[in-house]
């Protein structure tokens, strides 16, 4: 059967077309980047890019209000929330290359491709050639925002109220979920101190992190007198995440350099620089890079 092509109405202007192609490339690249980046932070940033591109698309399509909301709510609020949680959970946490599920990746890609082809075929099959545009509707209400407002508070007022309730519920839910119930009376500093003495483990306060004055980051363990790093100095959360940064080798590496510069300054003879590989033989185990957090626990 021969399709008779209907004339296209409401076509996009050339400017919009150019804009679309640029934005489309950015959006797809952002999306792919989000999926492919191994670090969550990178994924979040890619997604933010895609969202901004989409926001501009909305505006181009006449949904000015939505475009703004997209930027304010999504890119501004939701993505920030994401970033907060990423920080909380671990910036550097990344997926291992090897998937625990055999064939999952291939199956997912195949299914995804199939789905995409189906969707696109479906859209192509629909032969949409008449785009009315929302201009008339906007004009009738006196603008896009006014139009939306009129609809939200009349036709969709019920849904609007319900989503309001949903939002409140979600907020309370988030609080409940992250709230931790105290199962016993909160221990005061005095209690803690007494317990430490009673147990006799670590009576004094824990040593501070950081190696001399060169590092003051919380994730860098302090060095013991013999040059080995002490795990005690690092916050247990970071330890649990395996995000302890061992810089002892680096320090030793730079020790020679330091000594040389000091000697130069004092006019002494420089001793032979000692290399970290020699020095770090004994505590090699302690200073070995901590396992990544995302090692599957099979």
């Amino acid at each position: 059967m021969i399709e008779i092509a209907t004339p296209l109405t409401g076509a996009a202007s050339t400017g919009e077309a150019v804009q679309f192609w640029i934005l489309a490339v950015i959006a797809v690249a952002g999306a792919l980047g989000m999926v492919l980046c191994r670090k969550a932070v990178h994924s979040a940033l890619c997604l933010a890019g895609t969202m901004i591109a989409l926001a501009i698309c909305y505006m181009a399509e006449g949904a000015v209000f939505l475009g703004v909301v997209q930027i304010v709510v999504y890119t501004g609020a939701i993505m920030m929330l994401f970033l907060f949680v990423v920080m909380l959970v671990g910036v550097s946490a990344e997926d291992t290359v090897k998937d625990a599920l055999k064939g999952q990746r291939i199956a997912a890609v195949v299914a995804g491709l199939g789905f995409g082809v189906l969707l696109i075929a479906g859209i192509a099959n629909a032969k949409l050639r008449t785009f009315t545009g929302t201009g008339a509707a906007d004009a009738k209400a006196g603008g896009n925002v006014q139009g939306l407002a009129a609809l939200i508070f009349t036709k969709y007022v019920w849904a609007f109220e319900v989503t309001g309730a949903l939002l409140i519920t979600a907020a309370i839910g988030a609080m409940v979920l992250t709230h931790r119930e105290l199962t016993e009376e909160k221990q005061s500093q005095r209690d803690l101190a007494e317990r430490r003495v009673r147990l006799g483990t670590q009576v004094t306060p824990l040593p501070a992190p950081g190696v001399y004055a060169r590092h003051n980051a919380v994730d860098v363990p302090g060095l013991l007198p013999d040059g080995t790093p002490s795990e005690l100095t690092v916050n247990p959360t970071l330890r649990a995440r395996g995000q302890m940064r061992d810089v002892s080798g680096e320090l030793v590496d730079r020790m020679g350099e330091l000594e040389a510069s000091t000697a130069g300054w004092l006019g002494r003879r420089t001793p032979k620089p000692r290399h970290s590989t020699e020095l770090a033989k004994a505590p090699a185990a302690a200073s070995a890079p901590a396992p990544t957090a995302e090692e599957p626990q099979e």
Binding site: G10, A12, A17, F20, A24, V28, A31, L32, M34, V35, A40, S43, T50, M51, L54, C57, E61, A63, F65, L66, Q70, Y74, L81, F82, L88, V89, A93, E94, D95, D99, L101, Q104, A108, V109, G112, F115, G116, L119, I120, I123, L128, T130, F131, G133, D138, L151, I152, K155, A159, T163, L166, L167, T169, A170, A171, L177, A293, E294, P296, Q297
Partner: protein
């Protein structure tokens, strides 16, 4: 240009998001993929709104955003509390239902 291209873009993004959900293991990234899918559908809704010349599509997209916000709040809270107990954000680690 036929505005239907927006729909193709939406379909593409949706597919990428869906595949991402299946491929990634980090719960946060997983969530981001879901957000991408929602955004893709929003784009489609806005385009449909343009197609039909009324604002209902935009309204629905608006609601989608609200619901997505709520969902993200709850979802991230869940991720945080899971992380607290299991010290991991990988969805593969929450497989206690496994036999």
């Amino acid at each position: 240009m036929n505005p239907v291209n927006y729909l193709y873009l939406a379909a593409l993004l949706f597919t990428i998001g869906a595949t991402g959900v299946l491929v990634r293991r980090n719960a946060i990234v997983l969530f981001m993929c879901v957000e991408l899918m929602l955004n893709a559908s929003n784009l489609a809704l806005v385009t449909f709104s343009r197609l039909h010349g009324n604002l209902d599509g935009q309204i629905i997209a608006f609601f989608t955003m609200v619901v997505a916000a709520a969902e993200v709040v709850v979802g991230l809270a869940i991720i945080v509390s899971v992380f607290r107990t299991r010290h991991s954000a990988s969805v593969d680690d929450t497989n206690l239902m496994k036999l």
